[in-house]
Symmetry: C2
Subunit: 380 residues, 2 copies
Amino acid sequence: MFSYKITARNGRARTGTFSTPHGDLLTPVFAPVGTQATVKTLTPEDLKGINASLVLSNTYHLYLRPGDDLIAEFGGLHRFMKWPRPMLTDSGGFQVFSLAQTRKIDDEGVTFKSHIDGSTHYFTPERSIRIQENLGADIIMAFDECSDPNDHDYSRVAMERTHRWAERSLRAKRRADQALFAIVQGGVNADLRAESAKFIASLGTPGIAIGGLSVGETKDEMHAMLDVVTPLLPEDKPRYLMGVGTPEDLINGVARGVDIFDCVLPTRLARHHSAFAPEGRLNLMNAAFARDPNPIDETCDCYTCKTFSRAYLRHLIIAKELLAGTLLSIHNLRALIRLMESIRGYIADGTFEARVPELLEQWSNNAKRLNDDEQKVEQD
Amino acid sequence: MFSYKITARNGRARTGTFSTPHGDLLTPVFAPVGTQATVKTLTPEDLKGINASLVLSNTYHLYLRPGDDLIAEFGGLHRFMKWPRPMLTDSGGFQVFSLAQTRKIDDEGVTFKSHIDGSTHYFTPERSIRIQENLGADIIMAFDECSDPNDHDYSRVAMERTHRWAERSLRAKRRADQALFAIVQGGVNADLRAESAKFIASLGTPGIAIGGLSVGETKDEMHAMLDVVTPLLPEDKPRYLMGVGTPEDLINGVARGVDIFDCVLPTRLARHHSAFAPEGRLNLMNAAFARDPNPIDETCDCYTCKTFSRAYLRHLIIAKELLAGTLLSIHNLRALIRLMESIRGYIADGTFEARVPELLEQWSNNAKRLNDDEQKVEQD
């Protein structure tokens, strides 16, 4: 039911097709995040319009609200939120550690309090898998523990627990129409990352995730960890770099052999008036755009860019009209999906490696220009 | 450039076509309100999807933000907000009296302070027309004064001023591609309404508006005023009942010879979780809908009803997802537009008058069921 066919390689970058029960994913792929069974402010039609393929949703959030049992009653997430293409759920591990008030963690599982109402809940690897089976995504994740990347001792403890939990997650899994990906951990320690990559690879899952990055480490540290991990992973399985990332992260990740990415950045930036543009990330609230007749990006094929001026978008923002968030989300997601489409083409025609410096220059210039705004938004 | 052709009558109800530079309006018509150059939470594509034809926008709001001069630079409202079908702007009169802090009104005009930043502005009939010419809607309104409906003495003063301002508005108008509608006032006084209807009819404008209703008077008073006014208006001009209304108001208005309506109700209800449904107006936040697999209205052809369950919509509301407002706005607007489509059909086949009691029963039952919610929302 799941197969990964690589159609071209260029350096360590690969392009291919991962087949799922809800259709084929062309990799490398960027997945919009639909935390609460909706990509914020967008309809499934909007997502099809920007050529989204994989959509991620969050087990922790859906377990708490509306409840995975309710979603199962409705035939699973695809039917509940009416997304007919492939979906991925995380294990809830990351959110239990970052969002919830954690009360107790031991080898068996984690007791935590809901960030919504303070109620107490208990997750184990088995429970996470059962919830993800109720949700019914095509790709599901092993329950893992994400450590502080700078604490080597704790990173080892968390990594070893993650390995035991990966085995338990695999044993708990029952549905044949779901692919379980196990997760490489190990913080920013090359030795731990290598050990984890080898162990996780040995489990033979149809795909492998790399967790615990983009959580406070430097870009160089992230690249160094990818340089350690991806060469130790099987060639014929897709690699998913969780919660990453910025346009630069996507380019750097693909160059290091990553196939799947997800991040809230494009939609979160959109709701804070920030848009990816050729001359840099724009804060469209800025008065400079009040009379700007141009689209955000005249090379972009999204509905927002084909239809509206920057002046109109700025007006919506200043007038506090919610439509601004929708229109900017459409553009920002399309920008990253279009970047991935280009990258797939470059890998296929053998030019990707040569283009990496140019792509990075194009997009890192983008990030540098409005770094203050970006900082402000990302702390939001 | 403007012509009104009545194609069928049934009692006092009429159906016809009002031709404008941006296309034909089939009447009776309900116009969604796009106060700030956007129908809240909806794209122009969404509006086309529900078969919206006429969209109203507010002169007072657009004058203050982003400024009518800016919109003129962009070729007018149609091009600025990318709505290719007919548009209507009000004169700003109603908002100056209801939203702004009014400082001084005399025969020449009104000095008021912006509700946004307290800055001082001055509107006259000439200024209102100039602003509306900058905005460039197909149908524009004479500057008028809306009085407290229960104050007879002030109603006469305001009515007489409205008449003088209508003449000045007409003299100020320059663009041939805009139809100026003058406005009948007179509060809830039959004598004043009759006097106003005759005077405004004598001006020969291509359409006539009825203002100052739905501002606190009873439904019976509104009907009584319509019964006085519409028989005194020329048969061959469309009649626009401003800021009305509820589904019942639309049915009652059409039965009394009204052709054009607008109201924020469907979109405002939507943003407060309330939806028009066959069994009554639903507050979709209610726990009763948590596991309801049905659409809001299984007879409805809108995207929301064709796609999503009440359970999913409730989940979005409970999870505070903005998409709920978009999806409910699509449905509520479509419900009223569909009602008007049905009514046009009934007038054409000669059954409308006979169906009025059934239509009122259907929709007033709707209103009665959840009156508390409705009250709460409408005070918002």
